[in-house]
């Protein structure tokens, strides 16, 4: 039988008609749609039990309390801990996306030497050689931790220097260290008890200090109040976030903060608003007015305004002796609601601002902010979890990433009382990482290990019996039965908060301070190429107009 073209056509028509009453077209239509709902190249979150654990954020020295949702052995969500009296349940925008940082494309996964992949053993050998030749300088970004003690001990033993890269909050307290002898790290702003704050451009609501501290304070005592209990007078060249929310915004010229402080002191003294004081600024009110762009009357009025609701405190964003002197004149130093002593420790730290020349090697701990980079002839051993792109020609050593190391957290910068907390590690690094402390301890075990120091600190804390433990409940230290119990609470996310320091703080200001050089001068000016941000935080810059872009970073 011959098959004709006609037969084929008829057959196809029959097949097509028949196919309609089979599952073929309909099931394929349905399944293809389902396929499009579950595209295999779209990642799916892990399934499994979700556990909630507590830890603390180690992105910066503030150590905000973290509530970590864990699934499949990984942190999958972060939120603040409301019972934490320091961070008060808040996190910064960076913190909310920090659990993704460990997979950042710029995560440092290998030891790098002069841009080439190297190994830990080579790094150790190179460092051992350098340390023996000496001298070495160790730079810490977050003093007061157990790990810091290891760094400090090592530096002491090996005849090197231990330097601290202070944050701007601590740097703003440095003038008082000069005038009172109390280290800046033992000082704090008693914001909780102040009623008027004169901010000389300090971004109080925009990343200054602990994210949960001032914003919460402001929200409770100032926000949307016609007559706020906390008055913020913000002197800022432009309408910054803080200025936009301040009780009063003074539009001053860029860089005229010191002049404004001097003018205010003149105005205060002139109008007898404060007791007479020895150190009087050279500049007159009208000179200050010229420099700031405000009228002399406005400065006088401002002086009256700020003393109207004491206590009053002046805050500068960074090292600024004139603003500090204003505080001295206002009597805010050592007073409630002013500059207070957070601890009676008198140990001073040398700032990295000091010269680090004629040094064989520099070790930079991973706690040092990303924008610090050494411009030195020394061999630099930079510990970092993320490759910021600097330190070319030096060693880049992969440090534990976010929540990958257990560490303790001491008093945040400029916080008025001592605190102590522990950040438990919840994530496991998938490649070899080392902290600077561990790296140094490998060379010289006598410097101690962070674990033993942490343990002994807890013991010390338990023995002191002072302060309160803020965990699931608020427990006075007197009710803690043992070091073990204390440690357990701390590892479960509790924060120890000490009592107010009773030690005296007095400043003597003999003469008006001269204009100060920038504290970042010297060998520490070369910034990293771009900050490494949690990808979701970079969304803020890339996908909204909320903030100016710091470069397209993921």
């Amino acid at each position: 039988m011959k098959v004709t073209r006609r037969d084929l056509l008829v057959w196809s028509a029959g097949a097509a008609a028949g196919l309609v009453v089979t599952p073929v077209p309909w099931k394929i239509l349905d399944d293809v749609s389902i396929w499009s709902q579950n595209w295999p190249w779209i990642p799916q979150p892990a399934k499994g039990p979700v556990e909630v654990k507590q830890s603390a954020c180690t992105l910066c020295p503030n150590g905000c309390g973290l509530r970590v949702r864990m699934a499949g052995g990984c942190p999958v969500g972060l939120s603040g801990v409301n019972t934490n009296p320091v961070s008060r349940g808040a996190l910064c925008p960076l913190g909310f996306g920090a659990h993704q940082l460990n997979w950042h494309p710029r995560r440092l996964r290998n030891v790098k030497h002069r841009g080439n992949i190297s190994s830990w053993s080579e790094a150790s050998a190179a460092f051992a050689k350098a340390a023996r030749e000496g001298p070495i300088v160790i730079v810490d970004g977050h003093p007061g931790r157990s790990a810091s003690s290891v760094l400090e001990n090592f530096a002491e033993k090996w005849g090197g220097g231990y330097r601290v890269a202070m944050g701007p909050e601590t740097r703003s307290l440095a003038p008082y260290e000069l005038w009172s002898g109390v280290p800046a790290t033992s000082l704090g702003y008693d914001l909780e008890n102040t009623q008027t704050i004169v901010s000389f451009g300090a971004p109080l609501l925009d990343g200054w200090g602990i994210p949960g501290r001032f914003p919460r304070l402001w929200a409770e005592r100032a926000a949307s109040m016609n007559d706020p209990q906390l008055r913020i007078v913000q002197a800022d060249p432009s309408l910054s976030r803080t200025a936009a929310r301040a009780w009063q915004w003074l539009q001053v010229r860029e860089g005229s903060e010191s002049a404004l402080a001097a003018g205010l002191v003149r105005a205060l003294l002139e109008q007898n608003l404060v007791p007479a004081h020895g150190a009087i600024p050279l500049a007159t009110i009208s000179e200050a007015a010229n420099e700031t762009g405000l009228s002399a009357d406005r400065i006088r009025e401002l002086a009256r305004t700020i003393v109207a609701k004491p206590p009053v405190l002046a805050v500068s964003p960074d090292f600024n002796p004139a603003v500090a002197a204003l505080n001295v004149v206002l009597g805010a130093v050592g007073a409630r609601g002013g500059i207070v002593r957070s601890s009676d420790r008198t140990k001073k730290y040398s700032s990295v601002a000091g010269a680090i020349s004629n040094v064989r090697a520099v070790v930079i701990d991973s706690s040092v902010p990303w924008d610090f980079a050494a411009k030195s002839d020394a061999e630099v051993f930079r510990f970092a979890a993320w490759d910021g792109g600097s330190s070319k020609g030096d060693w880049l050593l992969p440090a534990p990433g976010f929540l990958e190391e257990s560490t303790d957290i001491s008093t945040p910068p400029a916080y008025p009382v001592e605190t102590y907390a522990v950040a438990a590690n919840l994530a496991k690094p998938t490649f070899e990482v080392q902290t600077a402390a561990r790296f140094l301890a490998n060379l010289d075990a006598s410097a101690g290990t962070p674990e033993t120091i942490l343990h002994s600190r807890c013991e010390q804390l338990f023995r002191s019996r002072s302060g309160t433990l803020y965990g699931q409940t608020i427990t006075p230290m007197t009710e803690i039965a043992s070091t073990q119990e204390l440690e357990k609470h701390l590892w479960d996310g509790a924060v120890w908060v000490g009592e107010r320091c009773s030690a005296k703080l007095a400043c003597e200001l003999k003469e008006w301070p001269s204009a100060s050089p920038s504290s970042r001068a010297g060998n520490w000016t070369q910034p990293w190429l771009a900050p490494v941000l949690p990808p979701l935080a970079s969304k803020l810059y890339i996908e909204s107009n909320l903030r100016g872009t710091p470069g397209r970073t993921v």
């Binding site: 008829v10 057959w11 029959g14 089979t22």
Partner: protein, 194 residues
């Protein structure tokens, strides 16, 4: 004319054969479970009567699904019987400490949020109302995987036409809906979707 009719009829029947016999076989990949786990044997020998003893609800209400290996290890840390399946379990999974890669017949996709707690604790549904009597079966079913959608065949149901289904057959959205309609429980889209 009659030749045309014949050829047409041949075309129709060819399509019907392909559609109803060849296509379902081609669409699904037959897969075997890694272990011959028999619910009936376990129920009889260990006296476990309640599904919830192994398929537990966690404290937060989430469903643990298939028991983790430690549940098996409770009895099978060493070989206690003489079946080949048990030997496989002990040697391949318990000793190396790896979880058994079970193929879950009723696994819903990631976009479905199904709470056993709500259906069991609040609505009081028996396990068998959705999972039939698999808990009493004495054999291991073949797992059939849809090549296109990646779903288990249990979602669509064994019947390709879905017209003559057993009462518990099928776990498509329309099956959820019809049960919800029967019980007059109204839920919005995101009530069951993630």
């Amino acid at each position: 004319m009659s030749r045309n009719t014949l050829v047409f009829a041949f075309g129709v029947s060819f399509a019907l054969c392909v559609g109803w016999i060849v296509f379902p076989r081609a669409l699904y990949v037959q897969k075997r479970q890694p272990l011959t786990f028999l619910h009936k044997t376990h129920a009889e020998k260990s006296g476990i009567a309640d599904c919830g003893e192994c398929h537990t609800l966690r404290a937060d209400g989430s469903f643990a699904g298939l028991p983790a290996m430690e549940k098996c290890t409770g009895c099978h840390s060493e070989k206690i019987g003489d079946s080949q399946a048990e030997a496989t379990l002990v040697n391949n999974y318990i000793k190396p400490g790896t979880e058994t890669p079970w193929l879950v017949y009723s696994r819903q996709p990631a976009n479905v949020w199904f709470s056993h707690a709500i259906h069991v604790k609040l609505a009081g549904l028996a396990c068998s109302e959705c999972h039939s009597t698999y808990g009493e079966s004495d054999q291991v079913r073949t797992y059939e995987l849809n090549r296109i959608s990646g779903y288990s065949r249990d979602i669509w149901g064994h019947s390709m036409s879905r017209l003559r289904r057993a009462p518990h057959e099928g776990m498509k959205m329309s099956d959820c809906e019809s049960c919800h309609q029967r019980h007059q429980v109204e839920v919005g889209c995101l009530g069951c979707h993630e």
